[in-house]
C-alpha cells in the first residue's frame, strides 16, 4: 500500500528530522498544561484539599495535640504522596480524551519532550501543593517550629518531588491508555513511591524532632537523588514506547 506526493515536494531527509528544538517543544507543552490547569482548576485544588483533609483526620485520629520526629515526617510524606496520586491520575486525561496525544504524535518533534513537559507540570503541581500543605501541617499537627528546619525540609521535598514527578509521568502515561486507569495509577505508583517515602521521611525526621534536632542526612538525600536519576533514565528510555499504539 502506498500514498505518494510529487517528488519535488519531498524535502531532503536531513530536513525532515525534528526541526523544532526540544526546549521549545517542552516550553510549548508546559505552557499549554499550565493554561489548561488554570482554566479547569482540576488537579492542584483537589490535591491541596485532600492534604488538608488528611491532616485534619490525622489530628483527630491520633488524639494528640502535636506530632514530631519520625511520626511527623511519616505523616507529612504519606499525605503528600497520596495527594500526588490525584495529580498523576489527571496528568494525561485531557490528552487522552481530547485527542492531545494524536495532535502531538502528528507533529515532527522529539517525543521525549512530552515526558519532560509532563514531569515539569507535575513538579509544578507538587510545589504549589507543598506551599499549601506544609504550612497547614505545621499549624495543625507539628509540635516543633518549622522555621529552623525550613531549608532542609525544602531541599528534601524537592528531591522527593523530582522522583514523584518522573515516576508519576511514567505511570500516568501507562495508565491513561487502559480502561482501569483510575485503579492502575495508584496501584503502580504506590510501590514505586515507597523508596521516596523511606528516603524522604528518614531525611526529614531529625529536622522535625524536638530533641537532638540534627542536620540533613547526606545518606538519605543521596538515596533520593540516585532514585530520581535512575527513574529519570528509565522514563527517558521507555516514554516513546508508551506513546506508541
Amino acid at each position: 500500500m502506498s500514498v505518494t506526493a510529487p517528488r519535488l515536494a519531498d524535502p531532503a531527509p536531513e530536513q525532515l528530522r525534528p526541526t523544532v528544538s526540544s526546549r521549545r517543544v517542552v516550553a510549548t507543552l508546559l505552557r499549554k498544561e499550565l493554561l489548561v490547569e488554570l482554566r479547569t482548576l482540576e488537579s492542584v485544588p483537589a490535591m491541596s484539599l485532600f492534604s488538608l483533609a488528611t491532616f485534619v483526620i490525622f489530628h483527630f485520629a491520633l488524639n494528640r495535640g502535636s506530632v514530631e520526629g519520625d511520626l511527623g515526617a511519616g505523616i507529612l510524606w504519606v499525605t503528600l504522596l497520596f495527594a500526588a496520586i490525584l495529580g498523576v491520575n489527571r496528568l494525561f486525561v485531557a490528552d487522552a480524551e481530547q485527542g492531545g496525544f494524536d495532535g502531538f504524535l502528528l507533529a515532527p518533534v522529539d517525543r521525549s519532550a512530552m515526558m519532560v513537559a509532563k514531569a515539569l507540570t507535575l513538579l509544578a503541581y507538587l510545589l504549589v501543593l507543598e506551599l499549601v500543605a506544609v504550612p497547614a501541617f505545621a499549624i495543625l499537627l507539628l509540635g516543633p517550629s518549622l522555621w529552623p528546619a525550613l531549608g532542609g525540609i525544602a531541599l528534601t521535598l524537592l528531591l522527593g518531588d523530582l522522583g514523584v514527578a518522573v515516576i508519576g509521568t511514567l505511570v500516568g502515561a501507562l495508565a491513561v491508555r487502559t480502561r482501569a486507569r483510575d485503579l492502575l495509577g495508584p496501584l503502580l505508583s504506590l510501590p514505586l513511591f515507597v523508596p521516596i517515602v523511606i528516603g524522604g521521611a528518614r531525611a526529614t525526621a531529625p529536622l522535625l524532632a524536638y530533641a537532638h534536632r540534627g542536620g540533613l542526612s547526606g545518606r538519605w538525600l543521596a538515596t533520593l537523588g540516585v532514585y530520581d536519576l535512575l527513574f529519570g533514565l528509565i522514563a527517558y528510555a521507555l516514554f516513546d514506547f508508551l506513546l506508541e499504539d
Binding site: A5, L16, V20, K32, L35, A94
Partner: protein, 217 residues
Amino acid sequence: MTRRYGEREALRDVSLSLPAGRTLVVFGPNGAGKTTLLRVLATLLRPHAGRVEVLGAGLPDDGWRVRGRIGLLGHEPLLYRELSAAENLSFHASLHDIRKSRVEEVLEAVAMTARAQEPIRHLSRGMVQRVAVARAVLHEPDLLLLDEPYANLDPAAVELVAPLIGPESGRTRVVCSHDPGGGMAEADLVLGLREGRVALLAEAPAVSSEQVTELYQ
C-alpha cells in the same frame, strides 16, 4: 497491509496505490476499517503485516520522516476544550514550527476570526469542525487524511472549507465517507471496505453508486 486489534483483524490484505494529487474515497459500513486505515496512514497505528509507504517513507520505521507532512481530520477535532481556537492553533503552530501569522490566515479562511478567543467548549459542533479543518491544514500538509470531513457542517460551511480540504486544494487526499453521492463526486479512486477486507477497488468512473450502496447492505 494487515492490522489487528488483539485477535480481531480490523484490516486484512488491503492493497492499493494512490498517486500524488489524487483523491481516494473510502466507503464502508461502521466497523469496516476506514478509521483504522486512516490512522495507519497517519503513522498513529502500526501495520502488523505487509508494507505501507506514505510520501516515500516506509511505515512504521520511517514514520518520523513524514509526520509533519500529514494533515489528519478525524472524528475527534484534536483540540483542547479549555483553550480558545487561537490558542489551540498557536499550540499546533509551535509544534510544527510555523509562523504565527499563519494561524490568523487559517482562522480567517474558516471564518472563525470573530470567535477565535472563545474556548472550544463554548463553540457549536460546526464551528469546532471548522477550527479542526484549520488545524488540519495549518502546516500545509502534502497528504490529507479526512474522516467524514463535512460532518456537522452546514452547506455554507462546506463551501467555505472546500478550498482547504476539497479536491481544489490540490493535495493528495484519502477521504472516508458514508455519502455515496458526495463521495463519488470528489473521488479519483474508490475503495470499498467490508469487515476489514477490500470489497471494491476501482477508478471512480468505473464505479456506480449502486455498487457503493451495496457495501452497506
